[in-house]
């Protein structure tokens, strides 16, 4: 049976029992340690995130431009189509749709890829020791790079259709930081649950699709609310969390006045979301390697 060879003289210093002084798998210390250690590996996920982007346009003729062009085409098509449908002015509605889509792409990217973040990295998780958060940082970083890339579309639109941009436009910076922070908890929470229950990603995908149509991206909330016939029903859209996330970012980007109500809602969601994600990380972090 277990005959442990011990040259006791050599080992004396390290021989103290460890059962008490080592935090167990389900401890806050380990959970926060995971986040901290993943953060320390910035060079690794920073590099991997870049690689992910390069991958996407490696084989296309237009290279890096491709991402932004396809984005611009979709935005223009939708802007024109829905603009006609809702009888909107093209010079305000096209930038409105484009910016909304830009933000939505970031949000939905974090949600859709978030639920698969650990499943997709199965090989790495099972064969190389690394903090779980590494994969989450990489994902959010990649989505951030996509967003920054697509920002070209915004710049061009602001040149073609000038908007009253000013100091308040800078509010977009903290707004984006808040979006990024929310991408983090969403990926941790849905990622862990989806690793255990594999029917989650498709459910999340259909819900996200539904939320897209319920969020004022290709339609204008103001317009609906100002129509007395549907105003009552239109206000239900406020129950959709995505509306508030899109608004805090879109308002500064289009030079619209900032509405604090959206910030309050987003603030509460951020705190509650992170609390849930941290509890999940604490309790199931060590299980993910067994579940993937």
């Amino acid at each position: 049976m277990a005959v442990t060879v011990t040259a006791d003289d050599e080992r004396a210093e390290g021989a103290r029992p460890l059962a008490d002084d080592v935090p167990g798998p389900r401890s806050w210390q380990r959970a926060f340690g995971d986040l901290r250690q993943g953060w320390r590996q910035r060079p690794l996920w920073g590099y991997l995130g870049w690689q992910d982007i390069k991958q996407r346009y490696r084989r296309s003729v237009l290279g890096p431009l491709w991402i932004s062009i396809s984005m611009a085409v979709i935005a223009t098509a939708m802007g024109i189509l829905y603009g006609a449908l809702f009888q909107e002015q093209i010079e305000t509605f096209l930038p409105y749709v484009a910016v909304g889509l830009l933000i939505w792409n970031f949000i939905s990217g974090c949600i859709l890829e978030g639920s698969e973040v650990f499943i997709a990295n199965e090989g790495l998780i099972r064969f190389l020791p690394a903090p779980l958060s590494l994969h989450v940082y990489r994902l959010v970083w990649r989505q951030t790079l996509f967003f920054l890339h697509n920002l070209v579309v915004w710049v061009i639109l602001m040149i073609i259709f000038p908007h009253p941009l000013g100091w308040t436009t800078l509010v977009a910076l903290p707004a984006f930081a808040v979006l990024v922070a929310n991408g983090g908890w969403i990926a941790i929470l849905t990622g862990i649950i989806a690793t255990r229950f594999r029917d989650i990603p498709p459910i999340i995908a259909s819900v996200t699709q539904l939320v897209f149509f319920m969020t004022p991206i290709v339609w204008s909330y103001e317009r609906l609310v100002s129509n007395p016939a549907v105003a009552e029903r239109a206000r239900l859209a406020e129950l959709n969390p995505a509306l508030h996330f899109v608004e805090i970012m879109r308002q500064p980007m289009l030079g619209d006045p900032i509405v604090l109500r959206h910030w309050y809602v987003v603030g509460v969601i951020t705190i509650v979301g992170w609390a849930a994600a941290l509890v999940c990380l604490r309790n199931y972090r060590a299980r993910v390697a067994y579940w993937v």
């Binding site: 442990t4 011990t6 690794l44």
Partner: protein
């Protein structure tokens, strides 16, 4: 690394595993489904339905390793060697008991993992190095050395998908043997490289072992083990059957004195 060793670098590397066990849950389509789990409970059939069968891969493991330990891991297929190595690397945290690993761990389980076919050999070297705890600078300083060892030359700037299997293995071995781990965990796969290249890799492997503080090496090659290790752990059905000097453990495991036979040759 993940969860197990929280700080690298300061203090001597050590592995302490106390009364640890590893259980693998065996999921099927039903237990993988949230819908089924929720409906199953709502229907009042909680008992056997929600129980996921379990494979007890490791049981009552007690190991304590310190700097300088070179341990061979022997045992039949399915005895738990790979699982024990993963427990030591921190990939798996024990389902029972405790494990504490301190030091920069370099596990070598599957040479292909972490390799991206679409990016160049050089990029792959860098990424693999970063995963193994090296910095970008350290890896850049080693690239010439790796290029020379792997004999890949201009191929290094080509995407990995253009490589033959043998070339990939060279690349992976080149990276692994160029790093400075404190705890080196080698699984059997590494022996499955073509003989000619292995002869060359052998010297590097020996140097690597010299550099690393702790070595645990699972292999069926007694010759390799005799060259690299001093003690041995004999795994049997998920438990440590024996842990002692290499010669004795191999003798008991094989039923004859293997090392003496090497010496008499």
């Amino acid at each position: 690394m993940r969860g197990v060793s929280t700080e690298n670098g300061n203090g001597a590397p050590r592995i302490d595993i106390v009364d640890a066990g590893v259980d693998f849950p065996i999921f099927d389509a039903k237990s993988r489904s949230l819908k089924k789990a929720v409906l199953g409970k709502a229907g009042g059939r909680i008992g056997t339905e929600s129980k996921v069968p379990i494979i007890e891969a490791l049981r009552s493991i007690n190991v304590s390793l310190r700097k300088g330990d070179r341990v061979a891991l022997v045992g039949h297929n399915g005895a738990g060697k790979s699982t024990l190595l993963r427990l030591m690397s921190g990939i798996y945290e024990p389902t029972r008991g405790r494990s504490f690993v301190h030091g920069k761990v370099a596990p070598v389980f599957d040479l292909a993992v972490g390799m991206d076919p679409e990016i160049s050999g050089l990029d792959n070297i860098l990424i693999r190095g970063l995963f193994l705890g090296m910095t970008k600078k350290q890896m850049e300083a080693r690239i010439d050395d790796i290029a020379e060892f792997t004999e890949l030359g201009d191929y290094l700037s080509m995407p990995l998908r253009t490589y033959s299997t043998g070339m990939r293995v060279r690349l992976a071995l080149g990276v692994v043997t160029s790093i400075d781990p404190e705890i080196l965990l080698l699984d059997e796969g590494i022996g499955a490289v073509d003989a000619e290249f292995l002869a060359k890799a052998r010297d590097r492997l020996f140097e690597l072992v010299e550099r690393s503080g702790i070595l645990v090496f699972a292999s069926h090659s007694d010759e390799f083990l005799a060259d690299l290790c001093e003690t041995a752990i004999w795994m049997d059905h998920g438990t440590i059957r024996e842990h002692g000097p290499l010669r004795e453990v191999l003798h008991h495991y094989k039923g004859h004195d293997v090392l003496a036979e090497f010496e008499s040759r």
